[in-house]
């Protein structure tokens, strides 16, 4: 069946987007509609909503549910009808999916918290199932792509048909139409494969991790629904062929990031972190929006009536390439547009000035950090630059900005990572650093290398985050690595998979990170030697234009990158040493005597001691008390280590796709992930030398990381270094005071301005309004007096006079009918008389 469906790859791509979305919708509907499944509360301690509020919620839900059910039905109908049989015409799923997304988001605001619904328990099967189907589809798409060699510039008639068929008008107003569709080039296919596989593994892992938590168990459905919605957003970003749907997916991801960081709603730190993350990325998003407006402005300047404005990437590229900006003295326009769009990437990918939100986002559940803040969403910024790479190519300034921001971030975040103690924060700074590497790759003109590193990084960083989640699970929610140690014996599967991820991240030879990081460094070296040439045209007509001449300063980027590689290896093996190797340091760190259960000698590196392993205090004290003996650290269950193993396999072998060892035919990355033309890194002496040196640097980092953190002599040396460079240590430990700087020089001034504005509002604006109100009140009082006394007096007086006279005359009305008749007759007689007396 899959074989038949593969004739319509975009259909499958739509399914990949829609499946997680449908599971999100389904879980949401189940959570919100069938609320009376278990009327008797099992858990009395659970806080119930007040009946009034519940009623309100129910009515709101019912009000929102029916249009959604209708739209979901429509969605399914359109899917079955318009897409599988007929290639052209009909309505694409996108046109239906967009409004549904926004309506369902409204529902999410009024989310009920029914913790006893069966969907809470079975939601992950839906989410993971959707992602698994998506992963299967994406894998088969990838296999087909690789087998048939389809990539941009190699379009077969079939691909041309897809292109035409999958472009539909979302809507049109007058001459303005809004075509949207799916772009299935190499970037999208590799990206979709990565996103679905990683998201599936992470959701799979989440089942055990979230179920372990009391709060998470009650909000299981909500968690997985939001995960699915997030996956929808990311897949939409990867598959979009236009800025508009790209931006929608981008914002959905931002929202889900916000919601999932604050998943543990009772944690104030999580609430603060989610707000920080949202606002910081929003600053970047403003730039992104302005960049899109700038593209519109460029259309106005280009002023070609045959090519009206469109959101389509290819279309914008065509128009912008057609016009000679430098000749029209408008060279600043592409630069400004590229830099503004890069601002969005800086916010989302946590690059240097806006990187502060990512470490704080670690307050969310660990699988959320793995999916959103390591593998996919933060990589979307890089993907944005990849999609607009042709725009950056038009401006050397923009390219160099990207490269330098990436270099600063890569090195700076790596240094901070060296001194952190929170297992997740180390990985967060590592993520920032690796995203910096991707930006370097893009900035020196190698979209291939940047995207390759994005993909490998997604696999191994998701693995590392899940591994840290497993460690946290095993240690019962302790995150400080100083409390850990020696877990390799107790959690072997976690240890070996984590080690695979660490080796990949550190850049050790056969693992994935080695190939991608090395390709980035090679690109930097290449740029420093030859400058950057932009290649215009395809195939025979290709010619290269020198955009950025070679300059010695690019070697600084190279050196920063190499130094970052050393630090990466160092802090990762520091983490390994603290967490998995050596002995358990919990009591030692807290300055307490380690309880001695028999033959364990204190202070000895004795693995036997783990039979009597002592557990961290705090959360487990009650458990310990109940059991009567210390709780052992535990290995994660299969549902959690199987995803780790899958990701570990990827982290180990994925890099071979981009190796220059196999030559042209074997280098799938260079073949499919390129910007318009294939670029093969050749295996010559220079490349080999660079590979060797970067491997050497990484091994040096590994050596020092283990030596300093895992031996007694190293510990002494470390303390001496700390004492000697106390100021530097303090600066790095406090993350270079960037947060404090923002607090002091940005947040406080903004608050001050806000206070001033508030004072102005309270005293001046409100004063004017209140004075106007008071004046009106006084005038009204005066008017009221006039009205009450004079006007009403006149009217009442008149009425009194009338009443007086009517009292005088009303006895004429006797009430006797015959009197009235008499009067009538008399007057008729008078009338008749008057006729005669003329």
């Amino acid at each position: 069946m899959l074989e038949a469906l593969l004739k319509y790859p975009e259909t499958l791509a739509h399914w990949i987007v829609a499946l997680p979305f449908l599971s999100f919708v389904f879980i949401t509907l189940k959570l919100t509609i069938n609320k009376n499944v278990d009327p008797k509360p099992k858990d009395e301690s659970e806080k119930e909503l007040s009946p009034d509020l519940k009623k309100l919620q129910t009515s709101v839900m019912q009000g929102y549910m029916w249009p959604i059910i209708a739209l979901v039905g429509l969605l399914g109908f359109l899917f079955l009808k318009s897409r599988l049989g007929e290639a052209a015409g009909g309505i694409s799923i996108n046109s239906v999916i967009m409004p549904v997304i926004w309506i369902v988001l409204l529902v999410a605001i009024f989310w009920p918290t029914n913790s006893r619904h069966w969907i809470q328990k079975y939601a992950p099967y839906i989410s993971v199932g959707a992602m698994a189907i998506g992963a299967i589809i994406a894998t088969s798409l990838w296999i087909k792509t690789v087998q048939e060699g389809l990539y941009p510039g190699h379009a077969t008639p079939d691909t041309e048909i897809w292109k035409e068929a999958w472009k539909i008008n979302w809507y049109g107003i007058g001459d303005f139409t809004l075509p949207i569709g799916i772009k299935l080039d190499g970037f999208a296919i590799f990206g979709v494969w990565m996103v679905t596989v990683v998201a599936m593994c992470i959701q799979w892992f989440s089942i055990g991790y979230i179920w372990d938590d009391d709060y998470g168990r009650k909000h299981f459905g909500r968690y997985f629904a939001k995960h699915s919605l997030f996956a929808t957003g990311m897949l939409m970003v990867v598959l979009s062929d236009n800025i508009l749907t790209f931006l929608i997916g981008w914002e959905v991801m931002g929202l889900c990031s916000y919601l999932l960081i604050g998943f543990f709603t009772y944690k104030p730190s999580a609430n603060a972190a989610q707000i920080k993350a949202f606002i910081t990325t929003r600053i970047g998003d403003v730039g992104f929006m302005l960049g899109i407006f700038m593209l519109g402005l460029m259309f106005t300047y280009a002023n070609d009536p045959t090519l009206p404005f469109s959101f389509d990437f290819e279309h914008i590229k065509e128009v912008l390439y057609k016009y000679d900006w430098a000749k029209a003295n408008l060279g600043w326009l592409p630069t400004a547009a590229a830099l503004l769009i890069f601002m969005g990437a800086v916010g989302k990918s946590a690059q240097f000035p806006l990187h502060v939100w990512l470490p704080d986002a670690m307050e969310g559940p660990t699988p959320v950090s793995a999916l959103i803040h390591a593998a996919t969403m933060v990589a979307a910024g890089v993907f944005l630059v990849v999609r607009f790479f042709w725009l950056f190519e038009m401006s050397p300034t923009a390219m160099l900005t990207v490269a330098w921001i990436g270099a600063i971030t890569a090195f700076g975040a790596a240094t901070i990572g060296v001194v952190q103690y929170d297992i997740k924060r180390i990985l967060a700074y590592s993520t920032i650093s690796q995203l910096g590497y991707m930006m370097i790759g893009l900035g020196v003109g190698s979209a291939t290398a940047g995207m390759f590193h994005l993909l490998t990084h997604a696999y191994f960083k998701a693995l590392l985050f899940l591994g840290s989640g497993a460690v946290i699970y095993g240690c019962r929610h302790i995150q400080d690595i100083r409390y850990m140690g020696g877990l390799s014996k107790r959690m072997p599967i976690t240890y070996w998979t984590f080690l695979a991820g660490t080796l990949a991240l550190a850049g050790i030879f056969p693992f994935a990170g080695f190939w991608s990081k090395d390709e980035i460094l090679a690109s930097v070296f290449h740029m420093a030697q030859h400058g950057y040439s932009r290649i215009v045209g395809h195939g025979e007509h290709a010619e290269s234009i020198l955009m950025i001449p070679a300059h010695w300063s690019f070697y600084i980027i190279f050196i920063l990158g190499i130094a970052g590689a050393f630090l990466t290896a160092f802090y990762m093996f520091r983490l390994i040493a603290y967490t998995f190797l050596g002995r358990h340091k919990n009591y030692e760190y807290r300055g307490e005597q380690s309880p001695d259960y028999g033959h364990h000698a204190h202070g000895e590196d004795n693995t036997e001691a783990y039979d009597k392993w002592t557990v961290p205090p705090g959360p487990l004290e009650k458990e310990e008390h109940d059991l009567g003996h210390p709780v052992e650290p535990r290995e994660v269950p299969p549902s959690m280590w199987i995803p780790l193993v899958i990701l570990a396999i990827f982290a180990t072998v994925y890099g071979f796709m981009g190796t220059p060892l196999f030559g042209e035919g074997g280098n799938l990355i260079a073949k499919f992930l390129n910007h318009g033309y294939p670029h093969y890194p050749e295996l010559d002496w220079l490349t080999a030398g660079l590979m060797g040196s970067s491997l050497l640097i990484a091994l040096l980092g590994v050596h020092f990381g283990l030596k300093i953190n895992n031996t007694e002599a190293g510990a002494v040396w470390k303390d001496n270094l700390k004492a000697k460079y106390a100021g530097l240590y303090r600066a790095v430990y406090n993350k270079y005071f960037v947060d404090e700087f923002y607090e002091e020089y940005i947040i406080q001034p903004v608050f001050f301005v806000a206070q001033m504005a508030r004072a102005f509002d309270t005293y001046i604006v409100d004063g004017i309004v209140n004075a106007a109100g008071w004046l009106t009140y006084m005038i009204a009082k005066l008017h009221g007096w006039w009205d009450n006394v004079v006007i009403d007096g006149f009217v009442n007086g008149l009425a009194w006079i009338v009443g007086f006279f009517s009292d005088l005359t009303k006895p004429i009305q006797s009430g006797y009918v015959q009197n009235y008749m008499m009067v009538i007759i008399i007057f008729v007689l008078f009338y008749l008389l008057s006729l005669f007396i003329r």
Binding site: G815, V817, Q818
Partner: protein, 121 residues
């Protein structure tokens, strides 16, 4: 010589009608019984009827009816038609009036007009 009826002079009718009308008015004004008042009203209606029929006989227009194949002169029936209408209305009025009387009786336990005197102010 054929028999020629001598028409009754018109003023005879007028006298009769005036007399009837005067009796009706007198009855209306002087009687206290509501049913007697209604009866007096009927007298006044009949006075009107007599006038209508009499005037029509005396001054009614002769006209040619052309809707039949053989043209034929007939006298105007307008007065008689009016009289029939008046009788109909009088009957309706009597029905309404008697109903009112019954309603009033149920309310006041009396049909004496002096007792029913709230039609004022």
């Amino acid at each position: 010589m054929t028999y020629q009826p001598i028409p009754v002079p018109i003023h005879f009718y007028i006298y009769l009608a005036t007399l009837l009308f005067a009796i009706g008015i007198f009855g209306c004004l002087s009687r206290r019984n509501a049913i007697a008042i209604l009866m007096s009203l009927e007298l006044m209606f009949n006075a009107c009827n007599i006038i209508l029929v009499a005037f029509c006989q005396r001054w009614g227009i002769t006209f040619t009816l052309q809707s039949f194949s053989r043209a034929q002169d007939i006298e105007s029936p307008v007065g008689q038609i009016y009289a029939v209408f008046v009788i109909t209305i009088a009957a309706a009025e009597a029905a309404v009036g008697l109903a009112l009387v019954i309603a009033a009786y149920r309310h006041y336990k009396s049909i004496n007009m002096d007792d029913i005197n709230i039609l004022k102010w």
